[in-house]
Symmetry: C2
Amino acid sequence: MADTQPVQNPPAEQPTEEGGDAKGPSKSELKKRAKEAEKAKKAAEKAARQAELEAQKAAAEVDFATEYYGKLPLNKSQTRPRRPRVQIASLTPDMDGTQVFLRARVQTSRAQGSKMVFFNLRQRIDSIQALLTVSPEKVSKQMAKWAAGLAMESIVLVEGTVKKTPEPIKSATVGDVEIHISQIHLESGLETILPFSVEDATRPDTEIETTEDVQFKRVLLDTRLNNRIVDLRTTTNQAVFKLQHAIGGLFREYLEGKSFTEIHSPKLQGAATESGASVFKVSYFKGNAFLAQSPQLAKQMAIAADFERVYEIGPVFRAEDSNTHRHMTEFIGLDLEMAIDEHYHEVLELLDGLFLHMFRSLKQTFAKEIETVRRQFPADEFKWREGPEGTLKLSFAEAVDMLVEDGVPREDLDDINTENEKRLGRLVRAKYDTDYFIVDKFPMALRPFYTMPDPSDPTLSNSYDFFMRGEEILSGAQRVHDPALLAEQMRAKGVDPATMGPYLDAFKLGCPPHGGGGIGLERVLMLFLKLNNIRRASLFPRDPKRLEP
Amino acid sequence: MADTQPVQNPPAEQPTEEGGDAKGPSKSELKKRAKEAEKAKKAAEKAARQAELEAQKAAAEVDFATEYYGKLPLNKSQTRPRRPRVQIASLTPDMDGTQVFLRARVQTSRAQGSKMVFFNLRQRIDSIQALLTVSPEKVSKQMAKWAAGLAMESIVLVEGTVKKTPEPIKSATVGDVEIHISQIHLESGLETILPFSVEDATRPDTEIETTEDVQFKRVLLDTRLNNRIVDLRTTTNQAVFKLQHAIGGLFREYLEGKSFTEIHSPKLQGAATESGASVFKVSYFKGNAFLAQSPQLAKQMAIAADFERVYEIGPVFRAEDSNTHRHMTEFIGLDLEMAIDEHYHEVLELLDGLFLHMFRSLKQTFAKEIETVRRQFPADEFKWREGPEGTLKLSFAEAVDMLVEDGVPREDLDDINTENEKRLGRLVRAKYDTDYFIVDKFPMALRPFYTMPDPSDPTLSNSYDFFMRGEEILSGAQRVHDPALLAEQMRAKGVDPATMGPYLDAFKLGCPPHGGGGIGLERVLMLFLKLNNIRRASLFPRDPKRLEP
């Protein structure tokens, strides 16, 4: 019991660029590191001598508190005392004097002399101050010393008493109470050097920029992703992934209310469908398979199989060597497809209703999480139009006109590229005061073969994109349900209908008119919160250069 | 308008074995087909001559009903009249006399003379009889003739009047009313030969066996899967996949109520983790990636990252060349992982609560769907124990004893193989009257390296399997959260800790004790309904020999 652990200092941050190559450190960097290592070594030696001396001194004193602290044996489910535990967030001033028991991470600790240790204890997005004070027959000096030596990020079991604080503690999310510790045990310690502190990883970039006199460490994205486990522990990331969960849940909730059936379509495909270029090839026993780049074909086949309305939440794979802030090789598609009665605007309106449901619910139900993320990623509140005029819908032609009016040469606007999309987003925000809008009636030339052409102008199509903060988050359309027209459009787009047998067959067996769309979950999350990089919206992101952790 | 289509007869069933090779047809089969083709050709010629004659005759009569029937132009969203439509299931006798408008499939049609046509119209799991009768100024002879020629599985828009039936119509699910058709238009026809009729595909095998005098076609599994779009339209399959949706939904609902967070972990992995043998390799730009064979490592890493309780619903991939009734190369994993306070039985009990919630809700809320499946797949009702004694829990040792008592040599029971699992299921059913039970405390030798050993007997482990009808549907355990023990167990199981870097690191950074389990969605569905083959529980199943449709 009672083995000590030195407080581990995070190593200096490597100054690599965000999203840049993960090259080796520079020479000067290596030199700097060697110097730091030497310094750390000396400090450790000094600390060891000091510790030895103090240990000798401590051995002379009898420790009455050995049962109240120390490292616990590995939990192999030896016993089950069923002792109740509390959540930090549930502690309130009216519990003043109550004894509680809880598990938490040591986010920070600070010894004040040899008789007092302050802790910031953390549970997910909540934190509280806890205090250990040497006192006769309760807390021994040895106990305080051991506790002061607990490494950051250690998991401890704490018994203590809830106390009202005279004034709010700003460094904790629960600031009106603190815990006076009577027992503290280590359940899981650290057996490696912490790559950065969770406190540093939670600091907003703006704060670092405005406080040049303080030695704040900036933790860059690549370093975070290389050490994702620690990075995910920040209150920011705990909130980000609670919001990711919420968006998926709201998608589902809305569609369940509209009689959709959830389906699971296979990711392993016999042929490289849709467009062969960006498909991953898999060794499949003695042959090959391909990873689905969307559930497009499967969900349309489900419509031909009378499922009427389907949705799917699942991974989609894109073998595109794009190293941008908004591309990943694997992401989560929120896909839906539905039979339409008369007009594809039935789908467009349902999708609009879906997004409004998401935005409203996020704002109403997840204000705490949004506020938590805002502290690290300050952003204007996401805006959308409520009221009778409804969501802004522009035709592609109207969007082009707005850009031309703003000075973009019309000849550059056969397609609206990423840069012009963002420009359009700014123009729309300025003119219509919304971060969310729809562009309808894309040119047929820009859409895949399964897109239904416009009934009166065959150069246009019954297709649409949805935008958030000037970036596309949904692409959708009415689909072609007639096999002859479908084969014709395949040939026109350079796809051989012979390679699409089972898909084409589905429409030869009779299929209702239908439409749908695909939403990128991480994009919605990134843009709603303005996280600026899609990797921040993915638990363990994958891009052409990253397959771990 | 009003172009006629001949009724298409399904071709004769190919006598391939279930799950057998999809080899080419035999010589005798080819001969048989040629003969049939010749016969079909002659019949078509005769029909064409007949049609021509009748067309000449019809041309002589004026058709007053041309607006009331015929093929509709392709829906490209030309108009949006917003005409209300009804669902078959909503039609009741008190609507007698009401005019309705609906879309449905023609499941079957039968002309009675030249003046009357009976239809069985289908919407998903509901069907109704509809009737077209020649009458002056309303339904012309030409209209009746055209309607009688509609191919099975055509999608039609029907306007008609609801009429109470004098006695229940047994061939329809809505039998107390029928529709008297005033208008019928073809929205989507068939442009290929129907491989089998939906009616044949819905018939239970038992019925085929007991009615040898009638020419019922048995539709074998391979034929169904080759033509999955038509097969999925059976009322049985519509119900099966509504139940698949329900099981996923109930899993989620239960865990949401227990503060779990849904996560999405990457399927693309940098290394062949867990056990390299059954992992698919993917070409990843200039290198390789591997498909995750479970979210095991990711969900444990999420626990190390303080997510506390996580679940995931997503595809898992197994490169096992197993061609059995219960193996697929891709299936849906319902996975969860949670921090435990004291004992792994916290997880086991939560999982038990989850299954009881599923079973109870399925029985209560989805009785109609279960009954629909039972008509084709008769089975004993699924049984589980309610009441104070709770779910049956056996230790592995107790399970072995039961088998030994039943005559299985003890030396064969180091592991319980598939055959003995089923035997155990029968013994448990006979003794305890339950199809659902838990086996706890598996030998360490049978479990993966990340399994926590038993605290007092290191040859045993804190692990469990859950069973339904004598087949394993969940495997789970307390996991090792101590990096030293984890590395030791990796080495003992022949896994090089160096290949598991990011995973091991997660535990070096401090991790609470935790446990979890993985459920095969399709297995639960198959066993609850007793579908006898896992492929029936998957929308588009994948096995070593099947990558399409």
